[in-house]
């Protein structure tokens, strides 16, 4: 509908506040200075990260490795490859994160990638509820 009426879609938090960067791993402690160490919603996020979330991360890691890119680049490339998406709003904290994020522009996502991602994170579904849901 947005495409039909030429309405721009600008998703915020495409990396899900850092959850989709690969910095949070199954059974691993939180990396120092990462958002979950200081965000007041930490307990909320952690309690919502189940096996489905980590299975998706494993897939993202595999796909990123095959493309010789980073997980954030893969996720951002996937986001802007969606036909109705105009531009994705990134939120880097450091120059290194910004430099990494901008590399997403050159990453190509194909139908096979989309199908494999959709199988673990079905369109219209959510792996965790947001605090305001």
């Amino acid at each position: 509908m947005a495409q039909k009426h030429e309405v721009a879609i600008l998703p915020w938090s495409p990396l899900w506040g850092g959850l989709l960067t690969g910095k949070y791993r199954r059974d691993q402690p939180l990396p120092p200075d990462s958002r979950l160490t200081f965000d007041p919603l930490t307990g909320f996020w952690e309690s919502n990260l189940g096996p489905q979330f980590y299975d998706l991360l494993d897939l993202l890691e595999e796909l990123a490795a095959a493309k010789n890119c980073t997980i954030p680049q893969l996720v951002l490339a996937w986001t802007i490859s969606q036909p109705a998406i105009t531009s994705a709003i990134i939120g880097p904290r450091t120059l290194a994160q910004l430099q990494d994020n901008l590399g997403a522009i050159e990453v190509e996502i194909n139908d096979d990638d989309r199908q494999r991602i959709d199988a673990l994170a079905p369109p219209g579904g959510a792996l965790a509820k947001l605090p305001n849901q």
Binding site: E6, T86, S87, I89, L98, L102
Partner: protein, 52 residues
């Protein structure tokens, strides 16, 4: 950088938009300025100033 139309506005915006949520909060002024300048140099022409 790659660009696309912003709805019907006639404006061309970069496919990544620099969100400023961290600027002035977790990222100090000096580092924020450096990041903004870097983004502009890389072709970003679209900044979300956030509602902080």
């Amino acid at each position: 950088m790659k660009f696309t139309s912003l709805g019907r506005t006639g404006m061309q915006v970069s496919r990544l938009c620099l969100g400023g949520m961290m600027f002035g909060q977790r990222t100090n002024e000096t580092d924020s300025a450096q990041m903004i300048n870097y983004a502009l140099d890389q072709g970003i022409n679209f900044i979300d100033t956030s509602n902080l």
